[in-house]
């Protein structure tokens, strides 16, 4: 829709009558990137755009939108941002698609969660919460919990206190040989770690996926043909593990991981022949699990360990991370793919995030 940008002398008189609540309404509909630029317009606009109450309004507008919010992928080792939609466009050059970010001494080793545009990263000695859009980063104080190999993490939002929480759990083998779990939670608003009671914690692994006030992991019961799988939610409000959500038993498939797709939990598996993804259309309802897609994997790059779905473009293509080094954009219609020009120094971990103005300093505004 082309608009004439008419600059008549009337425009100044009209624009003057535009009250601040109207300006706020208009600004709340803009992409975060535009808003970051418009901080230069005036001191008033800068103050408005930096205000966390505006950030919250903007976030709420994003969730109401009929068009998908602007999203990108963040990856570690080294820290880079990938404009994954851009690769779908044929005439694009590398620097547009991948952008390197520098956090100085805090080079992230891994990703531990993504929620509302905030990404939680594991760094040497602890954790960091980062907003790649505003580039604000907050190093969290070290926890007492020593990271072991048997760790699980999650990061998510709690609406009752308007807070973000980082969950950090580790399993230890006690002297008597039993598996013990220690669970700690960091609240961004309160700024400290708390140990929470943790009996009978299921043996979880890896990064949980945030949705609807809880962080979710996939878990197996039993073994071989009798393996039962379920999704275990950890409620951020109750700070306990809640009722497991059963996963369908699909012939020849043992689901490897959890993801998220358009606000629904997604589970996936890759066999030697195909990649399967299922989504839960109605949260908590076992019957609502539906196959999202199943694509042949024979054309994919060689992989030893993982094939992880990260994002879906507007045109229906899928971004996969292959093992810990490659990222590809696959066209499910014909199985062809393109490589993202990412750098990899070590184990790459990646996650999708929304472009928002939310500050990691929530409650501790600088």
């Amino acid at each position: 829709m082309k608009k004439q940008f008419a600059e008549t002398s009337r425009s100044s008189a009209v624009a003057e009558n535009i009250t601040e609540d109207i300006i706020i309404d208009i600004l709340s509909r803009l992409p975060a990137k535009s808003l970051m630029r418009f901080k230069c317009v005036s001191k008033r606009w800068r103050s408005l755009i930096s205000d966390q109450r505006f950030a919250k309004l903007h976030l709420q507008m994003l969730s109401l939108e009929t068009v998908a919010p602007s999203q990108k992928i963040i990856k570690s080792n080294p820290l880079q941002i990938i404009d994954y939609e851009a690769l779908d466009d044929d005439e694009v050059n590398d620097h547009v698609v991948v952008e390197s970010h520098d956090l100085g001494r805090d080079e992230p080793q891994g990703l531990v969660g993504s929620c509302h545009g905030l990404v939680s990263l594991a760094v040497y000695g602890g954790f960091l919460v980062y907003n790649p859009t505003t580039r604000e980063s907050r190093k969290l104080p070290a926890s007492n919990l020593v990271a072991t190999y048997e760790c699980f993490h999650g990061f998510g939002y709690m609406s009752t206190t308007d807070d973000y929480k980082l969950v950090h759990g580790a399993f230890f083998t006690a002297d008597d040989g039993s598996e013990e779990c220690v669970l700690e939670i960091f609240s961004l608003r309160y700024g400290s770690w708390r140990r929470v009671p943790s009996e009978d914690v299921p043996l979880l692994d890896g990064v949980g996926i945030y949705l609807n006030g809880a962080v979710h992991w996939i878990m197996d019961h039993g073994s071989g043909y009798r393996t039962e799988q379920a999704i275990i939610p950890f409620g951020l409000a109750t700070e306990t593990f809640e009722v497991a959500i059963p996963i369908p038993k699909v012939e020849g498939v043992l689901f490897e991981g959890v993801g998220i797709h358009e606000g629904r939990l997604l589970i996936y598996d890759f066999t030697s022949i195909s990649f399967e993804a299922w989504v839960m259309n109605e949260y908590g309802k076992k019957e609502s699990w539906t196959r999202l897609f199943s694509i042949p994997i024979d054309g994919f790059p060689d992989h030893k360990f993982y094939v992880i779905p990260i994002a879906y473009t507007r045109s229906g293509k899928i971004v996969f991370q292959i093992d810990v080094s490659e990222m590809i954009l696959v066209n499910p219609k014909d199985g062809t793919y393109k490589n993202y020009p990412i750098e990899e120094h070590d184990n790459v971990e990646s996650a999708i995030y929304m472009e928002t103005l939310v500050s990691p300093y929530i409650g501790h505004e600088q």
Binding site: V14, I24, F38, R53, K56
Partner: protein
């Protein structure tokens, strides 16, 4: 004659303003649904059970004194007018000294269109797109009118239209559009630009 007083705004974005804003945004969207339902039920009840009565009409007077008639059904899209109708203040022409005739005519046209029954969503969307396909100054006039008359759907349409128009602009272009005199000194502006330089790439 009573007018619905618009809340006076302070320069500070208060908690209640932000909440009210979010609330009004949610209301706008839910109102869109409930209004069309309400209009449908009102229309059907008046034609089936009651004897035919003349459709009530409200008269609006622009800043230049020109009068415009609008059916009560269509006028209900405006919270301001709805309140006046409910309080029986709408029997004589309502003066709207802030709104020019040219704009008021279009606002009436918008309300009439959105009060129509049996228009499918797709064609209404296309009609709306054409409605805001005008000069920026006119869109701003629509915003002011929609704000004063409290027509949430029109406010939503016009604010979205402005947002779409400005999102790719540079700060200098924004200053022109909104007639803002930047209070930054050149050094301050340079600092803000540096802090947010990646937003310019």
């Amino acid at each position: 004659m009573r007018y619905l007083a618009l809340p006076l705004l302070s320069q500070n974005l208060t908690e209640s303003t932000a909440r009210a804003q979010t609330l009004s945004l949610y209301l706008q969207l839910s109102l869109q649904v409930s209004l069309s339902q309400r209009n449908e039920s009102t229309m059907s009840s008046s034609s089936s059970s009651l004897p035919s009565c003349p459709k009530k009409v409200v008269t609006l007077k622009s800043s230049e004194g020109e009068t415009f008639e609008i059916e009560e059904i269509a006028a209900l899209q405006s919270k301001t007018l709805e309140n006046m109708i409910d309080e029986n203040c709408a029997d004589t022409p309502i003066p709207l000294p802030n709104i020019k005739g040219k704009i008021l005519a279009k606002v009436v046209e918008y309300c009439n269109k959105h009060a129509e029954v049996g228009v499918d969503a797709e064609s209404l969307r296309a009609w709306d797109a054409e409605f805001v396909n005008v000069e920026n100054t006119t869109v701003f006039d629509y915003i002011l009118a929609a704000n004063f008359l409290e027509i949430p759907t029109l406010l939503d349409l016009t604010c979205q239209s402005v947002a779409d128009m400005i999102k790719g602009k540079t700060p200098a272009e924004i200053e022109k559009t909104f007639n803002i005199k930047s209070a930054f000194t050149p050094e301050e502006e340079e600092q803000v630009r540096r802090e947010n330089q990646w937003a310019f790439e």
